[in-house]
């Protein structure tokens, strides 16, 4: 056990401690190096910067958008996949497939093969109907990113919701049918409450990962056109502005935020195990 714990400490605690350490110092590697201890100034400067609130808004929009899309379509897809059909096994594997594609790759595929205004599939479809192709990443950058990221996370949501659907007692649905509930009422009164816990878990897990989304933005818009999220802002502070201290302060904020979500997640999962 000892070597594993040691490894874990090195992998997790050392970067964490370094981030905390740098966040308290004015450290600009190419502009004077380590300029000493500055207290909490980095934290104050990170939130008072003019890019901070727009970045928060972008983050909320992207995370919220992706959650909305993956929950709504996840429930619908799970419902479809729960029906008995021919080739069920293969279809289910195919549905999960996007989850295995690396974020960088999928974002590049979307950018170059679908959203490209001259050669993209969407452009061709638009032109086939005589419409002007949409310049996706410039005109509707946030929507485009939501689309790309949702495509990656939809399988995860679908999978979790599908297992929840499968654990729904069919006698409950039949009882509701005998009680006079039409299909819509059966969905809202029986199925949806049954899914509520699975939906909460999907929301929390996805939130943790979506807050850290980076590759998709990096390879598509590079943070331009108002797609700079909090994570991307931190990256820019550290590597583009070469201000490690300021970026680290942002990193500490991100850690706190992720931990708040994780706390809720653990409480809900814990409650789930109790029952």
């Amino acid at each position: 056990m000892a070597p594993a714990v040691f490894l874990l400490l090195v992998w997790m605690l050392v970067p964490l401690c370094m981030t905390l350490w740098f966040s308290l110092r004015d450290y600009r590697p190419l502009r004077g190096g380590d300029l000493g201890f500055v207290g909490l100034e980095n934290f104050a400067r990170f939130v008072s910067s003019s890019s901070f609130w727009p970045a928060v808004l972008t983050t909320v929009l992207i995370v919220g958008g992706v959650l909305l899309v993956s929950i709504i379509f996840g429930v619908l897809l799970a419902m479809l996949l729960d029906q008995p059909m021919w080739g069920q096994g293969i279809v289910r594997i195919l549905v999960i497939a996007p989850f295995f594609v690396m974020p960088t790759v999928s974002a590049l595929v979307w950018k170059n093969m679908f959203m490209d205004p001259t050669n993209g599939v969407f452009a061709h479809i638009w032109r086939a109907f005589g419409a002007d192709p949409v310049v996706w990443l410039t005109d509707v950058p946030i929507l485009s990113l939501i689309l790309i990221i949702s495509w990656q996370w939809l399988p995860f949501a679908t999978l979790i919701l599908l297992t929840a659907f499968q654990s729904l007692d069919s006698e409950q649905l039949e009882a509701a049918e005998m009680d006079g509930a039409n299909p819509l009422a059966r969905f809202f009164f029986i199925a949806l409450p049954h899914l509520s816990r699975a939906i909460t878990i999907v929301i929390l897990i996805q939130t943790i990962f979506l807050l850290a989304v980076f590759a998709e933005i990096f390879v598509t818009t590079g943070g331009a056109f108002g797609t700079r999220t909090l994570t991307y802002l931190i990256y820019q502070r550290v590597l583009e502005s070469q201000n490690v201290g300021l970026g680290s302060a942002g990193g500490v904020y991100a850690i706190i935020l992720a931990n708040i979500v994780a706390l809720f997640l653990m409480r809900i999962v814990g409650k789930n195990l109790d029952r």
């Binding site: 007692d169 006698e171 409950q172 039949e174 009882a175 509701a176 049918e177 005998m178 009680d179 006079g180 509930a181 009422a185 009164f189 029986i190 409450p193 049954h194 509520s196 029952r275």
Partner: protein
């Protein structure tokens, strides 16, 4: 009103015919029990009546109206499921009121009916609990409450007691019988337990492989089983069935004799046997006796005071008045 008529009702799943054409009439106010071994199609038959399965042929009439294609909710039947099928996220009150809410009944009337049902079923103190906080028997009562409030033409019970422990089962059995006496509504009850069938039914329908083997009152079936299957299925412990030369001497392919209709003597009798395992119930004792010329050990029921040990020799004599004779097709010889 709840008179249910099945007219040549048939059900097949793909190639497999689960229920060959079947006729049955259930009179208004009757307590009918469908009984049979597992896989005999009794649950399927109930689900056909409920409308949860579509019939493959034939007609179902409820109070003279053709209900074959009517959706389950419109048939005016209420069902109690084996797993209770309560809605776990709703309180007992909401569970019971659910069918009324779906029927868009006004709130005051809903409340009145829920109260009345809760009174009948002793659930008044539990109305604000969730199903997860109730015991098995209480959940069963909530499920019955949800059925009662609809004031259905008939109640359908699908093995409602099989998830309860033995003591509770006896109690609930009485409660359901009591409920039937009070409501006088038609009840159809599916079970594999012939004790439940015997104790609760006005009319028992014995099913095997989708066929009706016999229909009749519990005692009719007990006293005059129409064939070997019914003879062996109804009654606990089972009727002793003997074939071979002993049956032939009674001009039958098989003879049946109930455990209580065998006289035991240590001096003289028809069959000589050796006592095997004995089961003492206090009031009665069941002996399993192995006799010469009879392949299966015979079960004999005697009073609790008879004292016989493992390995003792005894003489058994069947009571000729209560001997059941069956021909080579298994049918009763009158």
């Amino acid at each position: 009103m709840g008179r249910i008529t099945l007219d040549k009702v048939r059900k097949s799943f793909g190639e497999v015919e689960v229920i060959p054409p079947l006729d049955l009439t259930i009179e208004d106010g009757e307590f009918v029990v469908f009984v049979g071994p597992s896989g005999c199609g009794k649950s399927t038959l109930l689900r056909l009546i409920a409308g949860l399965e579509d019939v493959s042929g034939g007609e179902i009439r409820i109070d003279g109206q053709d209900a074959t294609m009517v959706p389950p909710a419109k048939r005016g039947l209420a069902m109690v499921f084996q797993s209770y099928a309560l809605y776990p996220h709703m309180s007992v009150r909401k569970n019971i009121a659910f069918p009324l809410r779906m029927a868009k009944m006004d709130a005051a009337e809903q409340e009145r009916r829920v109260k009345a049902a809760a009174d009948v079923l002793n659930l008044t103190d539990y109305l604000d609990r969730r199903p997860g906080q109730l015991s098995g028997g209480q959940r069963q009562r909530v499920a019955i409450g949800r059925a009662i409030v609809r004031e259905p033409a008939a109640f359908l019970f699908d093995e409602p007691l099989s998830n309860l422990d033995a003591a509770l089962r006896v109690g609930m059995r009485l409660e359901i019988s009591e409920l039937h006496k009070r409501l006088k509504t038609t009840m159809i009850y599916v079970t594999h337990d012939q004790v439940e069938a015997m104790t609760m039914a006005d009319k028992i329908v014995v099913l095997r492989a989708g066929h009706i083997e016999q229909v009749g009152s519990p005692l009719e079936l007990y006293r005059n089983p129409r064939n070997v299957f019914v003879a062996g299925f109804i009654g606990s412990p089972k009727m002793n069935l003997v074939d071979g030369p002993i049956a032939a001497s009674h001009d039958a392919a098989t003879i049946g004799i109930r455990p209580e209709h065998i006289r035991v003597s240590d001096e003289a009798g028809d069959w000589l046997g050796k006592v095997g395992v004995s089961e003492h119930l206090g009031s009665d004792t069941f002996f399993h006796v192995t006799c010469e010329g009879i392949s299966e050990p015979l079960t004999v029921r005697v009073g609790g005071e008879v004292d016989l040990r493992y390995g003792d020799k005894v003489w058994l004599s069947p009571d000729p008045d209560h001997l059941h004779r069956f021909d080579d097709k298994g049918l009763r010889i009158a």
